[in-house]
Symmetry: C2
Subunit: 214 residues, 2 copies
Amino acid sequence: VVVQPEQPSAAPATGRPKGTLNVARWGEILQAAGEVFDEKGYQAARIEDIAARVGILKGSLYYYIESKEDLLFALSENAHTTGLTAIVEDPELAAADAPIRLGAFVLRWMEVLAANPPYATVTDREVGALSGERYELVMAKRNELHGFVRGLIEQGIADGDFDPATDPGVATNSVFQMLNATSGWFRPTGRLTIPDIAEWYRAFVLRGLAAPSA
Amino acid sequence: VVVQPEQPSAAPATGRPKGTLNVARWGEILQAAGEVFDEKGYQAARIEDIAARVGILKGSLYYYIESKEDLLFALSENAHTTGLTAIVEDPELAAADAPIRLGAFVLRWMEVLAANPPYATVTDREVGALSGERYELVMAKRNELHGFVRGLIEQGIADGDFDPATDPGVATNSVFQMLNATSGWFRPTGRLTIPDIAEWYRAFVLRGLAAPSA
């Protein structure tokens, strides 16, 4: 969480908390909000529920936010900022072929997902609840993430590594949906670890996209 | 919707509406419930909202149900009963190799998804809101569906058609998550139709699972 205590209080549209505040407490509030949104759904969640989970009064919570939507926006911003770290490549990797780059992205993305809190998927599910400008800001980050993968698939098709019958948009959506759904069914007590599953995703995706002659 | 007007009113656990009723109206109620659950989330949805969408009084709705959960259960039952039609194979197909059978299932499953109402995914998302016995009943149907696909993947591994490094459970989850997510991003105005996407899924899944030597 990037906290800017000098931020004027009239800037809720950026998702930053208003005024001077307690950074650790703000982190607790966001975690509680994520948990309550995940358990009850965003619309059913009440500010009182979130305050009670932190152990503060509802009025104290309003020192940090102006509305419930501020919490959803801050959670979305955090999730997408973390997510975008997965598109960073070192120069050697950036110069490699598309299958190498896409395979490495799959592993990096699964690391990001594994490091996310359990409630992280709520920001995807509830993104439609964000209003105008905030929705656009979050979708711009999501589009940047998807555009990176789509670019790799387009590169692979152009180089003859991937099946030219592939629609890059459909393939991009499919890869993200499959990977992002992992937290919904993965059990840490199972036979496989997240790195095991990530390796299988890499093999499955690269074989699935491969040009028939390759 | 299977309506049994002779059903005694003390049988809400089966998900069937209590008492004698208007079949067309029950269909309208379920559609309204699906839409409201999808828009607001199950927990935030109110019986009043559903009744208002149908154009009846809240009290009239209670002629059909005893609780909001009855509506979620009926929607879940309908969705899974429809879904299970996709695991029916004619004898010739049932005797075929795993890649043929799995490819055919992918196409049938996409037909089921395309025929579903727009709110259908809500029953997957909210399944955890069903209580005890009802949750078990719905999960048993889901397990039957997943077990069918898992069996095909196990058959393919045993026959040497699919990569022996594949975990059948992980592969089954991955296929369902990828296919089921289609309604979340598909736009009918796009370049591709659902049958186009279904064909691509079939090719992607079969190539992705293929044994390295095959």
